[in-house]
């Protein structure tokens, strides 16, 4: 009953790959009326775990978690498709899916959790974020550089791998002595703040405060940290903000991101149809590995949404979302990092 916001249903128009369809397939499998044939498995791995169905659930059923649990059963029986098990194998050997993990030994009270995509796919975002923090007097230690937070293996049905990743994350954060952890990516913030407890039974350390970087930066700009430093020139371009994958799971960031955009642009950003509480993900969740065909459609559909609104540029703060948009954008519209733009505006002054 979350079909109105089910992003995969929206791009495929197929009942079977909505959470409702997936739940039905899974329960039929339990009943013995359906076996895990390759086509049934295609259905099972078509859910992006982007949070939409939960955010709009009229039935209050934690379906994404239930789907992850079914995937875990499938994986435990050795039935997971090879493209799925390969992702797990790679994380087991590299702790990273997009490149490599570089643990840090620097100490610091403030940390910036960079994550896998932030380090290996879109490092300019990380650099810009660190620079912005530095301007407001915070020397944050980059942690988790290239480290998967556990979201991807957990979502794909490998909770043991996910727990190992969680342990690596928490160990590094504690080793560095971080007490205030800014998180660059909504995916990692969701993992730390919700998924660990709900799906993995991992408790986040009490002494480490989790902070969404977007919210933190929005507070700082409002507290006039950057007063006079950022160019106040208003943009004449039509620039839209795209809420990143998982944004619907973190409602507090929705306004914060727009506050930052307004500072960077001098005007409020244009809004997409699939925005804020109903924002759709791009293919930057685990779906990019399991059903790349759908992942691409999800990203293309965000680009189309922006084009339909007449946007000339598309802004986002999340490295993984930005990477996907860059990869798939074949339109004349620019894709730009929000933190990078803020740094550019600082440079203009």
């Amino acid at each position: 009953m979350c079909r109105h916001v089910a992003p995969v249903g929206h791009v495929t128009h197929n009942e079977s790959v909505t959470p409702h369809g997936i739940a039905l397939v899974a329960s039929m499998q339990r009943q013995g009326t359906l076996t895990w044939t390759p086509s049934a498995l295609q259905v099972l791995y078509a859910e992006p775990d982007g949070g939409n169905c939960r955010a709009h659930c009229v039935t209050d059923q934690p379906l994404p978690a239930a789907i992850a649990a079914i995937r875990a059963e499938v994986a435990a029986e050795g039935l997971a498709p090879s493209e799925v098990s390969q992702v797990n194998d790679q994380i087991l050997s590299n702790q990273s899916i997009f490149g490599s993990y570089k643990p840090t030994s620097v100490q610091g009270e403030w940390g910036l959790f960079v994550g896998d995509a932030g380090f290996n796919l879109s490092s300019s975002t990380m650099q810009a974020a660190l620079q912005l923090l530095s301007i407001c007097g915070i020397e944050a230690v980059p942690v988790g550089c290239g480290l998967d937070s556990g979201f991807i293996p957990c979502s794909l049905g490998y909770p043991d791998t996910a727990r190992m990743q969680a342990k690596l994350c928490i160990d590094e954060i504690q080793r560095v002595g971080v007490k205030k952890l800014l998180v660059l990516s909504p995916q990692d913030l969701f993992a730390f703040g919700q998924m660990y407890e709900e799906r993995l039974g991992v408790t986040w350390p009490d002494e480490v405060v989790l902070i969404d970087l977007v919210e933190f930066m929005a507070d700082r700009v409002q507290a006039e940290h950057y007063k006079g430093a950022i160019s106040t020139e208003k943009t004449n371009d039509f620039i839209a903000y795209v809420d990143p994958t998982h944004a619907v799971r973190l409602p507090a960031r929705l306004d914060a991101a727009r506050t930052l955009c307004k500072v960077a642009l001098g005007v409020a950003p244009m809004e997409l149809f699939w925005r804020r509480e109903r924002a759709h993900p791009v293919g930057s969740t685990a779906i990019q590995f399991t059903r790349p065909d759908i992942g691409i459609k999800l990203t293309e559909s965000r680009i189309q949404d922006a084009m339909d609104q007449g946007a000339q540029a598309l802004l986002c703060d999340d490295p993984a979302t930005l990477h996907e948009l860059h990869l798939r954008n074949q339109s004349p519209m620019r894709v730009q990092g929000l933190y990078e733009l803020l740094i550019e505006q600082l440079g203009k002054k």
Binding site: S16, G21, V25
Partner: protein
């Protein structure tokens, strides 16, 4: 429909030619998902480990031309075509009871025009109801058809079974909001109905497709009437000692044209059970929610006049909060964890008749079901929720918490209860349905409902669909 040998592959290849490979599916999991809508019977059947009839193909056309081509193929192979919107229908209307092609309309989901002057929207029929609502809301407008299933239903699915939404009292049923449609006839001919529905230029043939539930063709596009989003919505609740007074108060509010957008009246049993469970109010009597909207000054005046009528019947004014709580939680009644769920047996026998008959009908049906199925400890609850100038709809439900475990026995008991309920409805001047439609569930009551007029409908069906390909087994056709 038994397709053998080369035939299934021949048909598949022809369908693929039309819509492309990724929009034709014969996967077992897809076929299983499309084997059930929201009708209790197939859901129970699946829940008990049985497999309902599956479609042979699921096809997703992108426009009327593709729909037309699919129907031509279905005619040449004599295979059924079942239009499928959101699959949220509760009557089994979208079930592929004889196999064939499920024609999923959801790829036809574009909004073609929002006319802010005439206040209309033209959209393709597969658009999701909630998405359409969001899009018109961006312009300060609303499509005033608010069914509890808007999240999953489509525009075509609103129209095909003649649905009714929560605010229908003032704004009308889905069928009252449609100006124009594009329809693909069973032989593949594409037509558009005239530009407006109210005229004196010949008969209203467009109405044939409203309520036909896909048996007369596929609706591919519709132009719908919009309204401005109301400046205010005033809600309040009142409590009557008994149903008789409450029904009379509701009748007077409607016949004096005070224009409430909602009057929802729960019978004492529903007040004690559902209202208590969902809204948390412990009340004895008949709970009524009243709503007025639009221009605030007018709404206040209408509400005051309505409350004067209510006062004459000795009802207690419970104030705004319980009315607003109902509005905010109105859909919780239909969704888990509060909704009825398997393995329980339940059915919604909603009907409509004129004011002079409604009370008698309600009590007759209640008595027949309660007395007829005492040994099953049947619960019978109801509310009156779609009010017209001439009468009202009563939404009654039977609930059995411990139905037979055996799926076949459960089917028999289910159908017996429906026979009892529908007999009471028909004998007391009711229609077999007011808004969920007929589907498979009520198909067998259509002849009794229409009597002498039934052959006319059969003749129309035969003329439009000589091969009987469109949604066979539904709305009384194709048995």
């Amino acid at each position: 429909m038994n397709l053998t040998g080369l035939q299934p592959e021949m048909i598949r290849s022809e369908l693929t030619e039309i819509v492309g490979d990724s929009y034709v599916s014969t996967d077992d999991s897809d076929r299983l998902v499309y084997s059930t809508d929201w009708f209790w019977l197939p859901q129970m059947w699946l829940d008990r480990g049985e497999v309902p009839r599956k479609p042979d193909y699921i096809v997703r056309p992108k426009n009327a031309e593709e729909v037309s081509a699919i129907l031509k193929i279905a005619n040449s192979y004599r295979i059924p075509v079942i239009p499928w919107g959101g699959g949220s229908g509760s009557q089994g209307g979208a079930l592929p009871v004889f196999g064939g092609i499920i024609l999923d309309t959801k790829r036809m989901n574009r909004i073609l025009e929002i006319d802010e002057k005439s206040l209309t929207v033209t959209a393709e029929a597969g658009i999701n109801g909630k998405q359409l609502e969001w899009a018109v809301n961006e312009k300060g407008l609303m499509l005033p058809h608010y069914p509890a299933s808007a999240n999953c239903a489509t525009l075509g699915g609103y129209l095909a079974p003649r649905g009714t939404g929560t605010i229908s009292n003032k704004y009308g049923k889905a069928e009252d909001l449609v100006l124009r449609m594009q329809v693909v006839l069973p032989d593949g001919h594409i037509l558009r109905t005239p530009i407006v529905p109210q005229h004196a230029s010949g008969p209203d043939f467009y109405r044939l497709f409203l309520g036909a539930e896909g048996t007369f063709g596929v609706i591919t596009e519709a132009t719908m009437q919009l309204d401005y989003l109301p400046e205010c919505r005033l809600l309040r609740a009142v409590l009557f000692d008994d149903l008789t007074n409450a029904l009379e108060a509701g009748r007077q509010i409607m016949t004096r044209r005070l224009d409430p957008f909602v009057i929802r009246l729960y019978d004492p049993r529903s007040t004690a059970s559902r209202v208590k469970k969902i809204l948390g109010y412990e009340l004895e009597g008949a709970y009524m929610v009243l709503g007025f909207d639009g221009d605030e000054e007018i709404a206040i005046l209408q509400e005051r006049k309505a409350m004067e009528i209510i006062g004459q019947f000795g009802a207690q004014d419970l104030g705004r909060e319980p009315g607003e709580a109902w509005w905010n939680h109105r859909y919780d009644f239909y969704y888990p964890p509060q909704s009825l769920k398997l393995p329980w047996m339940y059915g919604t026998t909603e009907t409509v008749t004129t004011y002079d008959k409604i009370e008698k009908l309600y009590f007759a049906e209640k008595k027949a079901v309660e007395e007829g199925y005492k040994e099953w400890d049947v619960d019978f609850i109801g509310h009156f929720s779609h009010w017209f100038h001439w009468g009202v709809m009563v939404y009654t439900r039977f609930i059995i918490q411990n139905p037979p475990d055996d799926a076949r026995e459960a089917v028999r008991l289910h159908n017996r209860i429906w026979n009892t309920a529908m007999t009471a409805v028909l004998e007391n001047g009711g229609m077999v349905n007011e808004h969920h439609g007929v589907g498979l569930k009520l198909s067998r009551f259509m002849r009794r409902q229409y009597g002498d007029a039934w052959p006319l409908l059969e003749r129309i069906k035969k003329t439009l669909d000589p091969n009987g390909i469109m949604n066979p087994g539904k709305v009384g056709f194709g048995h």
